[in-house]
Each structure stands twice: as structure tokens, then as C-alpha cells.
Symmetry: C5
């Protein structure tokens, strides 16, 4: 539970708007810029050493996908942003990886922030990563925090020359969004499986560790919801927005991504409700268990307490206790004890306690 | 509790949009295509071997109802979709049985997703099944996951040549939706009966199994709500939508289905609230029970503990205990014990503990 | 708790829309049709044997109030509906007494469904009854499930020739709605009184029966809310609706009914919150009580346990226990015991346990 | 807790709309009518014996404030209402002191219902009182249930000839509303102080009485919310309403009252959340306390139980118990007992129980 | 916990609108007025002794930022307000530091209220301070309750002659708002860190102090939410408002502040949910602990109770107890006791209690 729910902003607080400071986990890898530019016939896939070289892709004629892995290098992002003519606030937001998912329209491009979520099976934790997309007429700029393979499918489809090659930047942006949202389903599958396994465990053998697990998953759900809830709003805006950058044809596809996002939220709420129900169930089963233990104590104690008392009475050392001399007294007392025990057992049985 | 709340998507995640992959339970039955085409005078009911033959029904002049049972055969759905000119996303969604209920309008047809829900009395579980409807000018395509008898009533009405034969595809689609939503009431009746029986049981003889049952039904309610809540929105869109495919006359009927759907939701929320109240009641009755058991222990223990102590005192072996020699000491001690016990009983009675 | 939250629909499920089947409690009384028709000068009050005779009142010139008591006779409702030219769905809904309150506008009439609620003081239960109103230009048709006296006030006002006689069907419909909603206040008064009595009882002497009562009233509140919540929406629609059937003057009165309905909902929510608070209070007072009992047990037990141990030590039969022979040993041990008991009491007092 | 959450309506239920019946607490004081009429130069303050005399103020030319204290005299309200030409429903609502706060616009006046709330420091209760305002072109009619001094500030300002004398009835009505809403802050201050004192008490020395107090304040909050929540809506309507009775200049002031009302609601919700948190805290501290008591019992009991057993063994009367004769047996057993006790204490310490 | 959730308003209640009374903490510092006026080339930074001197800045031509530290001096605010021609209600609100965040548009200026929040690390408390901004064509007036350094960054940027010097009052107001909202992130970081540390503590070693801490942070969250929630609404209004005071260019920046505010709210809700989950976890771990302690008691007690009884039986002094004389009786009884203890241990093990 080392990950912070609230990211450190360091020297960012109080800085002027547009100040370019990286907010996020530091890594010592080098940022990679990879550009795929294509039209129906040709496709070129290259690594860019110099971020200023991106100017060449700004105004076509082919569709260019500029993908940046690693936004911790402020100068790279700055050079890219200036090369492509981005607003200072956009550059600031790309660098600050603690953004809410959102869509903002500028004069000649759209700025989209979305969270890529991956499940770390070792820590049983969700690792969020911020992806920024710039959708312009002739290029799509995508910025990831780390190297990753979520966009491999899109790259593959571009290479094999499919339908995607015949369409513009709007469809490319859609394909990237779709890859990210599709990944949410994989995440939910893994989480759902773990949670249902936990539910099974809860019913058969609840332990305090189960409780800590429930709390852990409730916490993960908070994180997930924080990432997906604003995305819904952002995608809704994207399907409605009056921008000319998105063709009517592509809007149908974006509506599909929106539907997926709503579906993810539904499932999320269902899992949250399930976890809440599991907590209730856990607490109830704990108190049930305690109840049963208490019952055994009660029965043992209340049966033996009077018997021990009787034994105590005849252990007294008074000189004048006539019963002590009677020959049948001992077996009589034993019988009396048996009778008391039996009577109490019958009493408990009648009250349905045993 | 073997059913998963989150469906497995397998190799679907990361695939290109429009990739046709079946998501859902595999069955080894063969998909069946059954076409009923009719006008006011004639009706023909046939099984279609070749899905490509559906092209014949695409443009009239009679009303055709194409019903598919089993969407696990990708090639069948693909052939049908291509024959009828459906959008790739629609075909993808028909095959993916983990969709949210929704209505989407395309140029010349409406695509409706709805969940058919059936109560399995053996497992006490709801079995959801996805039904896709395509409402076009001259045909209605309905795709079910499994063979079933929910649409038998509609088929019967078509055959007996009633009012439905005089109206278009919009009324046919309404009749199918109505059959599915009507079925929800049957489901709620069964669930409601089981829940009220459980409530009865809860009051008369609560057991830990009751708790597991409450949890089970809360879980079923989550599933139900996930299926019905988005349907409400979808039906509202259907009654408002500016499409020319639905006549004003039919909208009155659709409004009726919408009302039914809202009614189902109301009942659902009432049942949910009832289940929440039952959980409270269960927990309270458990702690009441424990309280009563504790009371008996307290009374038994606190009465006998001082008595046993007195007996212990006179069981000590000191040589100089003058009382031991007094002739009336034994009965006096017995009387003292009686007095202590009586005093404690009076004390408990005054405190209203017994 | 014999009443079902979910009504049985019997053979209704799966039937064609417009199929006329009665859903509700069967009674063996005969349906009664009573028609009051009036203008400013004359009023006639008659029982109708033949439902077809209602055709005479369909188009004026006087205002007619057709009141049906008992909707279980399908043929009566069918004859009435056909006589007055009602839509099949309306006839279906009149017969199905498990409707949500709603307002639907048809070409030349409004269809209003509302729940009449009465408190059964013997069962401490709310008995809901569905009332259907048809507001047309020249007549108001009101259908009740059972004979009742809620409309007696309206009948009396018609007879005594007041203001109501000078106004149209819209005002008559308003008067009927107002009579039903006014009745809700009487119901809330009775429920509120019972709940506040229960609250009193809860504070002075909580018993497990109190808990069952709280659950019972929470359940009644669910039922009430299910009846009144949609009514609010329906009445709002009525005050806004662009129909020419309702005069501007009457809308002021309908707004008043709407205000009453919202007031009922406010009170309902307040009572619900109060009941929730009462449940918390009950659970807390139960655990307080248990706490106090535990405290007594602890104090008794922890005082006597060491004393009994000391007595046990000097009850051992070792031959070499020099203390046993000392003459002042017995009183010294008694003093020791007193000291231990006093020390423990002081310890408990310091910890504020007694 | 004698005050009812649901007011008795007595014979009101079932009466015709516009029937003038007083609903509320009966008092035997005489209703007082006081009229202040003024323009920029003159002000006259008089008591009106005859309610019919109010006709003189209906149409100016000066601004008249007609204040009624005591609405239990039906005939007085009736005479006033008829004199000023009020709608029967308005008169009915003035008399019925169980109204929701609301604003209703009639042809030439606005009808405003608002709750005046006062804290009774003896009963620690909020005493609500209904105030009805009629805002017309030339007069403001205000009806209070009881005599009170909340409007004294307004009267004083009128007398000292300030800004208020230069403005119309709209500003006067605003001044009255402002006086009432301002009073809510005084109420919240008193409640807030009491609740924070309770919180202090809760942390230092929780008692069952604290619980009853929390419940009491939650109940008062329900009442407050019922009075203030609808007022917000009503005031919003007042600032937006297209009536010509309110000048643009005055709307700025009304917006200020609206802001105050929203602020009151915010504070209310904060106090409600605080009370909910306090209940949790109370329950937790109770179970903490119980936990600690249980711990002491466990430690005492589990230490002495085995010791008492050992003493019991050597108190047995078998003839052949060789240990009894050993000279060092008694001290050895005492040492054994000490060892057992010490071992258990170490065990508990290791488990962090003590 | 000395700070009040409801501020004292003192003699303010009942006063005429526009009455200038300071509501808030009294300090004995002297109010400071500092004016920075600048254009692209020059900047002058001066302290104003006489508040009336502010008139000089009212109508340009340069941009003036008038900053007041300390609003407890009524006469200073009055002089400023009259000098700048502010509405009496605005002056009243500046003085009353218990305002909801809001934006109000007047004819030629906007009035913005916002809360500056600072974390006091000694008291672990949030200290709120009210900041009022007046945004006019040629000046921005900012009023703080106390001296502080939040605006130092803005002052620095003005001095170093950056972009901000080229833009108007709208950008200056934005810079001030941005500084305040940015500060919220610093606050959330500190709170988030403390809460996550508390969570850690909760899992490893929960104490009653942990509970008090959770309650404390829930309380702080209430305060935070009360300050930030209405701000969101106010900022949304600012970005939409049709005022000519804000240039389109600046709106992009305001939208950014709005996004930050929504982000703060999201994080706030996440922390609230986390705290609620922590309370559940605390209660569960407490009852788990108690459970374990009970288990030990049960096992110890139920094992020794029968053993002690057996010892008691053979401690009885009957003359005719033949077993007492048997030579192997003593070891046999010891074996019996061992057997009983072993049997019980096996029984508990089978039930999985140990």
C-alpha cells in the first residue's frame, strides 16, 4: 500500500500557469519518440532523435502518429509542443501526470487526457498511467508515461494495411482510445475473478486477512472510479462536440467507445456493491461465530457452576453436618448433580440454544 | 455461485473494432434461423438453412421476422449481417453477449440490445440472455443466445391472424420487446415470493443460512438492476426518437413498455430496500439472541460465584475456626447462601434483567 | 405480513397487449356503476344496470361522473370502454390493478392512475387500492377496486349545489384527486402517531418486538413511497400539460394538489429518516444494556475469583502447612480477602467502571 | 418529545378546497392586526380593530404593511382575505399552518409561505411557526401564528426613516424574508454550539444520555431540513420569476437572501454529517470500552482458573496421595501456582493484550 | 477542536441589509492596503495609508491590483467600497467572513468569494480564510483576512515582467484564483499523507486514538467540502458568464482552474470514501480482536471448569466414599482429568476454534 492516492506535486504548487514541471514518478529511462506516418499506399515507421523534427508532420499531407514514451523529460515535451504549436497549458498538462481525464477543444486541435490502467498481479494493485492525446488535422500526438504494449495492436493494424489506413487522424485517435478502454475490460476481468474468489473464501473460511483484502479492493475501486468516471463525461463531450476534426462516420465508433466506458462503470458499481455486501457478510459471519463460541461457554459454565457449588457445600468442614455420615448420601449427591445437569440441558434444548 | 459477474472476453480485448468474435457461453447446438414473413392475408413460417437467403427479405414487400437462436456461430451472423447490410460494429455487438441494453439508430435501421432474464428454480439464480433486435423498414431481425419459448406468444398471435398482421415491423418489434419485459414481471413474482418467504423465516427462526440467502438475493438484485436500469434509458430514447421507422400509433404502445420497465425498476428498488432492512433485522435478532444468552450466563454465574466462595471459606482447614464447631453453623450457612441468592435475584429483578 | 409486495399477474404474462385480464384481488361482490350528471340547475344520481348505457353521457351536454366500484368484472369494463371509445391499452390498465401512478394523454381524454391508501388499524397495515380516472370533455370516469366512502364528500358537494356545479369535468377530476391526496394526510397522521408512540417505547423500554415494529413500519413506508413518488411526477405533468381539457383556473387547483403531494413526500422522507434513526437508537440501547450486564458480571466475577482461590489454597490437605495451626490465621485470611475485594473495588472505581 | 412531526388536520381532511379551517395549535390569545403605512415623508403605525378596514390599504397610494399575529381566528383571516381579494386557496393555506414553504404567483400578488424557526433553550427544541406573506403592488400582508419580535428590526428601520422608506412593497417583503432567514443563523449558532459541546462530551465521557441527545439533535435536523430545503427552491423561483411586482434592484437583495438560505442548508448538512460521525464514534467508543472490560475479565479469570484447579486437586480427600505428606510440597505448589500465573502474564504480554 | 463549525455572527443577526459589521476572528493587527499598478513597461508597488486614495486607480489607464490584508477594520473597507463605488451588499459580504464561495455579477464588476485553506501542522487542522475579489475593468481588489504569502508568486511574476504584464485585470484575477486553488493541492497532499499514515497504523496497531483521528479527519473533510463544493459551481459560472470583463483567451485559463477544482473535489471524495472504509476496518479489527480474546477465555474456562468440578467432588467430606480409600484412585482421577482436557481440546480443534 505504498502508492499514494494523492500525487506529490513538489515545486509545482504556486508556479505560474504554463510553467513546465514534470509531476509524476521519476524514471531514468530515456524518452522515446516514434513516428508512424502513412497514407493508403505507404507507411513509414521511424524513431525521432530530435523532437524538433516533428514540425515536418504538422501539416500533412500524410497522417502522422507521433508517440512519446516517457514525459519526464521536460525539454523533449517542450520542443514537441513548440514544434506543433501547442498552448502552454496543454504542455503543462502533458507533463503533469496527475490530471483528471478530460477533453478540451482548442482552435485547431483537441486535447484528450485518459488513464491507462494495468493490473499488477504481484502486488494485486492497479497501476495507472496517464496518456495524453492531441488530435489535429494531420497528426495525432500520444504521450505515455512509460513504455508499454497497449498500442501494439493499433501499430499492427496500421502495418497490415487495413481499413485504418484509409481513414484520417480521427479514426486513429479513436483506435488508440478504443485500445485503452478495451484494456479496462481485461482489468475488470482480473479484478472480478479475484473478488469472486474472495467471496468464495469469505463464505467457506473467513479470516481477518479476508477483511484486509476486502478493504484493499474497495481502495482499488476508488482509484478505478476516479479514473473512469470523468472519462465518461469526456467521451460524451467528444461524441457531441461540434468540431470539424471528427467525421460523422467516426462518431459512430466513438459512441461505441462511450458505450464501453459506461459498461465499465456499470460493472464497477456492481463490484463496489458486491464488496459492500461482502463486508456486511464478513461482519455478520464474525458475529455468528462469536455467538456460537459464547453459546458453548454459557452451556459449559452454567452446567458446571451449580455442580461445583454442591461439591463445595459438602467439602465444608463443619462438625455438625449429619448428611456426611449417612451411607447413601454420596451416591444421592452424585444423582442430584446428574439431575441438575440434565435439567439444565433440557432447559437449554427447550430454548433452542443447543 | 459459479456464474461470473464479469464475463470473460478472451481474445477479444485488443482486437480491431468490427472484429467478429463471439463472447459468451459456448454451446454445441447448431444455430437456427427461422423466418416468418406475412402480410394481412398470408403467412409463411420456414427454417432457413443458408443465412445468405435472408437477402430476399431485406426489401419487402411483406413484413419479415428473422429469428436467430444461437449467436455462437460467427459465420452465420456474419453472413446475415452482410446480407442485410449491417454496420460492422452492429455485427460485433450481436456476437458479444456482454453488452449494456441500448438503442442505436443507424441510417435505415435501429439496433436494440435487451436482456432476457429467466429464473432458474433449481439454482435460485437468474439466467440472463442477450437479445439483439434490428428494426428495419421491412424486416425485424432478432438474435437470441439460446433456444427459448418467450416469443411463442408472438408467433401464435401472428399465426391466428390478429391485429398484429395489419401493422408493420415497428409493431412486431414492440411485441417482441413487450414479451421480454412482461417476462420480467414473472421473474419478480418468483423472486418476491422467495424473498418474502425468507423474511418470514427471518422472523421466526433466523439461521446463518438465512444470511447467506439474503446475500445471494442482494447479488441477484445487482445483476437484475444492471440489466434493467439501462433498458429504461434505451426505451425512453425509443419513444422519443425522431426516426420514421416507428409510427405515432406504435409509440403509444412503446410508452406502455417503458411504463412497465419503470414499474419493474420501482419494484426492484423496493425489493432491494426490503433486503437491506432484512439484513438489519437479521443482525439485530442475532445480537438480541446473544444478549439473552449472556443474561442467563450472568445470572447463573453471579448467583453461584459468591455461594461457592462461602462454601470454599468453610472448606478451609484452619485449626482455629470456632464456627466449625457450633452445632447450628451448618444450617446457618445454608440459610446465608439462600439469602445471598435471593438478594441477587431481587437485585436483578429490580434492574429488570429477568 | 401476508400481503405481497409483488402482485401476482397469473396468466397475464405473455398475453397480447390489449388483452383484457383482471389482475388483483378477486372479490365476489357485483360491480356497481353509478352516474351523477349535472349542470348548474339540475343533478341526477342514478345506478346503471347496463354498462352500455354510458354511451349517452359521452358527448354532453351536461357534466357526467361515471363511478365504477369493482373492476374485477372484465365484461363491465370492456363494455364501458367500448361505449366511451377508450384505447385498448387503457382498458387493460384499468383492469390491471398493479400499475404505477401515471398520467397519459390520448387524443380526446386524459388517463390518470392513482393509488388510494387506507390504514387498516387492526393489521396496522396500509391497504392500497387503484383508482383510474378518465377525464374527457363531457364526462369523468372513475374506477375503484372496492366500494368506499372517500368520494362521499365530493358527492355531497355536488348535491348541495356549490361552486363545483358551475365548473366542468376538469374541476370534477381535480375534486376527486384532491379527495384521494387529502386522505394521504389522514394516513400519515395515523402512521406518524404510531411511529412516535414506538419512539417513546424505544426510549423507555425497548424489546425485540419494538424491532419487529420498526421493520414493519419501514416496510409500510416502502409501499407508501412506491405509491406516492410516481404520483408527484404525474401531477407535475398534469399541471404543465398543454391539453385543452384543463382550464387555466383549474390548473391553480391542480398545483395545490401537487403541493400537497410534495408535502406528503417530505413527511414520508422525514418519517423514513426517523425510523432509520430509531433503528440506530435501538441497536445502541441494546448494546448499552449488554454492556451494563457485562460490567456487573465482570465485577462480581473478578472480585470473587481471587477470593475463592485463596479459600481453595487453605482447603488443601498438605500435612505441612504451618499457617493452618496458627491461631490468628483464620481471621487474618478473612481480612486478606476483604482487602483484596476492597482493592479491586477501588481499582474499578478509579477506572470509572462502577 | 411531545411535539408531533405530523400535524393533526382534524376535520380538514375531506373538506372542499377553499374550506376555511384552522390547522395548528390552538391559543386563546386574540388575533392582532397592525398596519404600518408610509411614504418617504410620513409613517403611521396603528392597530386595526376591524379586519374589513384593510380595504383602505389595498390600492395605495402609500405602502402598507399589514401584520397579523394569530391566524387561529378564521373569521379575521376571512374578512382580510375578502377585503384584499385573495384567492380562496390562499386563505385556506394561510389558516393551515402545516404548509411547505413555497412561492405562488397569482394575477396581482405573490403568495409566499416561510417557516420562522426559534430555539427553545429550555426544551432544547426548535419551535417552528408559519409565516404567510402576500406581496401586492401597494401592500404586504404578513400573517404570523403567534406574537413575536423577529420583525421588530424592520419596524425600527421603517420608523427611523431609512432607505427602506424610499422603496416599494418588494423591498419591504425582502426585509421581512431577510429577517426570518437571518434568524436561522442565530438558530444554527445555538444548535452548533450545543452539538459541539456534545461532541466534546462524547470524547471525554460518553453516557447513554449522550446517545439520546444525538438522536434528539438528528430529529431536530430533520425538522429544520423540512423547513429550509423547500424554501431554497421557493426563493430561487422568486429571484427568477417574471413578475413585475419585483424590481430588478430588489432582485439583487433577494439573491442575497437566497445565498443565505443555501448557506444555511450547507451548514445543516455539515451538522447532519457531524452528527452521523458522532453516532459512529459513540458506538465505537462503547465497544472499545466493553473490549477493555472484557480484557480485564479474561486476564483475571484465565489466571485464577488454573490456580483454583490446582488448589482443588490438593483439596481432594484420597487416602493415597503421597505428595500430601512431603514436607516441601506446600511451598512447591505455591511456587508452581506463581509460575503458572507468571507464564500466563508473559503470554498475554506477548500477545499485546496487556 | 476549539474551532467552531458555525461562525458566531454576534450582533449581525437582525441588522438591516448593508449594515457593515465584521463577522470573523478579531485580530489586533492593522489592516494593510498595498497597490501594485502596472502596464507593459512600468510597475509601481506601494502601501496605501489612506483607503480613499484608491479612487485614483478606479478608471485606469494602468492595471491596478489593490490588496487588503485584514478586513476587521470596518471603516477601511467602507472607505474603499465607497471610493470604488461598490454595492452595499458587496461591502457587507467582504466584512462577513462566513460566506459561501460564489460569483456575483454587478453592472461593471464581478464579485468573487473564495476560501483560502491552509493546513496547520501543529493542530492537524485546516485553517480557512475568506478571500474576496472584485474584478473590474481597470482594477482587481483582493481582500484577505490575514497577512499571508500565497500571493507572493503572483507578485513575483508581476515584478519580473512576464506575460502577465501584457494582459488585463481578468488575467490578474485568474492568477490570484489559480494561486489559491493550487494551494488546495498542497493541502490535499498533506492531508492525504497523514490519512495514509493513519491507514498504515490502523492495519498494524489500531488504538482508540486511531478512531479519534479518523473522526477528526472526517470532520476536516466536511469543512473542506463546504469550502470547495460551492466553488466549483462559482467557477463554472465564471467560465460561462456572458460578461465582457473576461476575454475569451482568459476563459481557457479559467477553465483550467475549474478543472483543478473538480480534481480537488474528486480527490476529496476519494479521501472521504477511504476514511469511511477505514472506520469499517477499525470496527472490524476491534471486533476481531475481541473475538480472539473471547476464544482464549472460552477455551481456558471450558477446559478447567469440569476439571475443577471433579476435584471438588473428591474434596467432599462424606464418610462413605469408597473410592477415596482405593490406592490407585488418585492417579486414576488425574488421568481422568487429563482425558477430559484432551477431549475438549480435540473438540475445539475439530470445530476449528484453535
Amino acid at each position: 500500500m505504498a502508492r499514494k492516492l494523492v500525487k506529490k506535486r513538489g515545486k509545482k504548487v504556486g508556479a505560474a500557469p504554463g510553467t513546465l514541471v514534470h509531476v509524476g514518478d521519476k524514471t531514468d529511462t530515456v524518452a522515446q519518440i516514434r513516428v508512424v506516418d502513412y497514407d493508403q499506399e505507404h507507411l513509414r515507421d521511424q524513431r525521432l532523435k530530435d523532437p524538433n523534427a516533428c514540425r515536418a508532420f504538422k501539416s500533412g499531407p500524410r497522417v502522422a502518429w507521433i508517440n512519446v514514451e516517457g514525459v519526464h523529460e521536460v525539454h523533449t515535451v517542450e520542443a514537441l509542443g513548440q514544434g506543433l504549436g501547442l498552448h502552454p497549458l496543454v504542455m503543462e498538462d502533458i507533463l503533469n501526470t496527475d490530471q483528471r481525464p478530460k477533453v478540451e477543444s482548442y482552435d485547431d486541435y483537441l486535447y484528450i487526457v485518459i488513464k491507462m490502467l494495468q493490473y499488477d498481479p504481484l502486488q494485486h494493485e492497479i497501476r495507472p498511467e496517464q496518456v495524453s492525446l492531441i488530435l489535429a488535422r494531420h497528426y495525432v500526438l500520444s504521450c505515455q508515461e512509460r513504455a508499454g504494449n497497449v498500442f501494439d495492436g493499433v501499430r499492427e493494424r496500421l502495418r497490415t494495411g487495413r481499413r485504418i489506413r484509409f481513414l484520417g487522424t480521427d479514426y486513429l485517435a479513436y483506435a488508440l482510445l478504443d485500445a485503452i478502454v478495451d484494456n479496462y475490460f481485461a482489468l475488470l476481468e482480473q479484478l472480478g475473478e479475484r473478488i469472486e474468489a474472495l467471496e468464495e473464501e469469505l463464505i467457506t473460511r473467513p479470516t481477518p486477512a479476508t477483511l484486509a483484502q476486502i478493504h484493499h479492493f474497495k481502495r482499488e475501486m476508488l482509484l478505478l472510479r476516479k479514473a473512469v468516471w470523468p472519462l465518461r463525461e469526456a467521451l460524451a463531450k467528444l461524441t457531441r462536440d461540434e468540431t470539424s476534426l471528427i467525421a460523422a462516420e467516426t462518431r459512430i465508433y466513438l459512441r461505441d467507445v462511450y458505450d464501453h466506458c459506461v459498461h465499465v462503470l456499470d460493472t464497477l458499481e456492481t463490484l463496489r456493491d458486491l464488496l459492500a455486501g461482502m463486508l456486511d457478510l464478513y461482519l455478520s459471519s464474525i458475529s455468528n461465530r462469536m455467538n456460537e463460541i459464547m453459546k458453548v461457554l454459557t452451556i459449559m459454565a452454567t452446567i458446571f457452576i451449580p455442580l461445583t457449588f454442591i461439591a463445595g457445600v459438602y467439602g465444608m468442614n463443619f462438625e455438625h453436618m449429619p448428611e456426611l455420615a449417612w451411607p447413601w448420601a454420596y451416591p444421592a449427591v452424585l444423582l442430584l448433580m446428574l439431575g441438575v445437569a440434565a435439567g439444565l440441558l433440557v432447559f437449554f434444548r427447550l430454548r433452542k440454544w443447543i
